[in-house]
């Protein structure tokens, strides 16, 4: 095998380890977190502090009865949970997790796919996520599932616009679609200790991005597609066993990818001022990955915190927020950032 292929496989392995570990860890964090917020104990029987609850749940999922409802559209019904993982397992390829390192005399950029289209590719792949929800809802032969799917498609299209526009505003001062260049542009400091992260000049865009990210991942307060008080469980009502688990994992991995994107766009990505990124390549890669994962973890905790603190929006409120508040804000932010960039301020 050529050196390039081995390097790419290595980078993929590093990312996949992080992503696949996300679901069981988040399962524990979410349940203990919700218990903490609601003044309950949460799962505390399996292992110390209930840490092995995720493992127990995985075993349980494997042994549950696998049901395909009568009248279901079988091919689409089986395809939907697989598609739920596709955007989650592909979008991370354009997110860098370290600088260019030297391995055995050859330069290796710590990004799986260092392509010029960069973040555009990520947005394109992420936009395919809605198909899994729509297929699941349509094929289940269940009115609650169908309603969930209709809501999902309307919601994801509406919030994708605001999300994309806020991302574009970050790219204008950088002048590139590449996320490694976005990270490189954030490595300075103000007054010697305040990191020059994009979140300061792009605060409006960041807020729009964050709200849209909640809607894109169908998390409370925007979990209308699966609103359990009205739709049982929305698009995945009829799914059981590992098929349900795939939707579950897909949701957490999408959260992780969007958190990684938020960290990279607005909070300096893998870079942290004060950390020395020199030395042997494995050590540098480990440091970059650790910093990025720490930033992702902060966002994930925020996701959990918000979920158990806010009530669900009504669907008309969701649509109004998306089209009448977030979209104008994102456009205003885009024009302002473009003007400031041309004026030479940013």
């Amino acid at each position: 095998m050529s050196f390039g292929i081995v390097a790419t496989l290595g980078k993929l392995a590093a990312w996949l380890t992080v992503l696949l570990a996300t679901a069981p860890i988040m399962l524990w964090v979410e349940r203990r977190g919700s218990a903490l917020i609601q003044d309950r104990r949460g799962p505390n029987r399996v292992g110390p502090l209930g840490l092995f609850q995720g493992l127990a749940d995985a075993v349980k999922f494997l042994f549950k009865e696998d049901i395909v409802p009568a009248g279901a559209d079988r091919p689409l019904y089986l395809l939907a949970p697989i598609l739920a993982l596709v955007p989650a397992l592909t979008t991370f390829v354009v997110i860098p997790f370290g600088p260019v390192v030297e391995v055995g005399g050859r330069a290796v950029n710590l990004i799986v796919a260092g392509v010029d289209t960069g973040v555009l590719l990520l947005l394109a792949l992420a936009s395919l996520g809605v198909y899994s929800l729509v297929m699941a809802g349509y094929s289940s032969n269940n009115k609650y599932s169908l309603l969930g799917a209709v809501r999902a498609s309307a919601q994801m299209i509406s919030y994708e616009l605001a999300l994309t526009l806020s991302v574009v505003a970050v790219l204008i001062p950088v002048g590139s679609f590449r996320l490694d260049e976005v990270v490189a542009a954030q490595q300075g400091t103000w007054f010697g200790f305040v990191p020059q992260w994009n979140v300061a000049p792009q605060i409006v865009g960041f807020i729009v991005f964050l709200v849209a990210a909640f809607a894109e991942t169908n998390r409370l307060p925007f979990d209308l597609p699966e609103a359990e008080s009205e739709l049982v469980a929305g698009y995945h009502t009829e799914y059981s066993s590992m098929k349900f688990a795939l939707f579950f994992m897909g949701e957490y991995m999408s959260m992780a990818t969007l958190s990684a994107l938020a960290a990279t766009l607005y909070f300096g990505g893998w870079h942290l001022p004060g950390i020395d990124y020199s030395g042997p390549w494995a050590w540098v890669a480990l440091k970059g990955l650790t910093v990025l994962v720490a930033k992702i973890a902060v966002f994930m905790l925020f996701f959990v915190w918000v979920r158990w603190s806010f009530p669900r929006f009504r669907f008309d409120q969701l649509m109004r927020l998306g089209w009448k508040v977030l979209l104008p804000l994102a456009i205003f932010n885009l024009v302002a950032i473009a003007a400031l960039t041309v004026a030479g301020v940013l």
Binding site: V115, Y131, Y138
Partner: protein, 170 residues
């Protein structure tokens, strides 16, 4: 070459499914496969930007709207044997004529046209953007206005029939 063959086959096969399948949801899903295969073609031709836009705009937005409308209107499967006999005959004739034209053109073009490699400069991001916002600025803006007009017209048409929905508490 193997990649091209695979995705060319996928594009053509899924395009066939789009027009032949009786269930509109399957047709849209096949169209998704067609468009993604075409995006792969763009990448092979050295235009990854175009490929990303194709996936983002067509499969990510427009086809989702198609699906949304199909599910909202609850369009059923097309009944088998639909369509007039003459209609079928006409369609078959038109397909034959089209295939004949394509074949003639293909045979005539063999050897007559030298394949030219795509100029990498022409599809790179910066030159593309520069052309779009200087040489082709007027057509670009006209297309934008046209699309806006189409949206307004569609809204007006949709609102004329039936009771209009309240502005604020929709």
């Amino acid at each position: 070459m193997a990649v091209f063959a695979l995705f060319a086959f996928l594009a053509v096969a899924s395009a066939m499914v789009v027009v032949t399948h009786r269930n509109p949801v399957y047709s849209v899903m096949s169209l998704v496969v067609t468009l993604i295969s075409l995006a792969v073609m763009f990448v092979l031709l050295g235009a990854p930007f175009l490929a990303a836009l194709q996936v983002l705009v067509y499969t990510g937005a427009i086809l989702v709207l198609f699906l949304f409308v199909i599910m909202l209107l609850n369009i059923e499967r097309e009944a088998p044997g639909g369509g007039h006999k003459l209609q079928k005959l006409g369609a078959a004739l038109a397909a034959l004529v089209f295939a004949g034209l394509l074949a003639t053109w293909f045979v005539a073009a063999q050897g007559a046209v030298e394949p030219v490699p795509l100029d990498a400069e022409a599809v790179a991001l910066v030159p593309l953007a520069r052309h779009l916002f200087s040489t082709y600025l007027l057509p670009f803006e006209i297309v934008g206005v046209l699309l806006l007009a189409a949206v307004i017209a569609a809204t007006a048409l949709a609102r004329r029939g039936g009771t209009s929905v309240g502005e604020d508490e929709a």
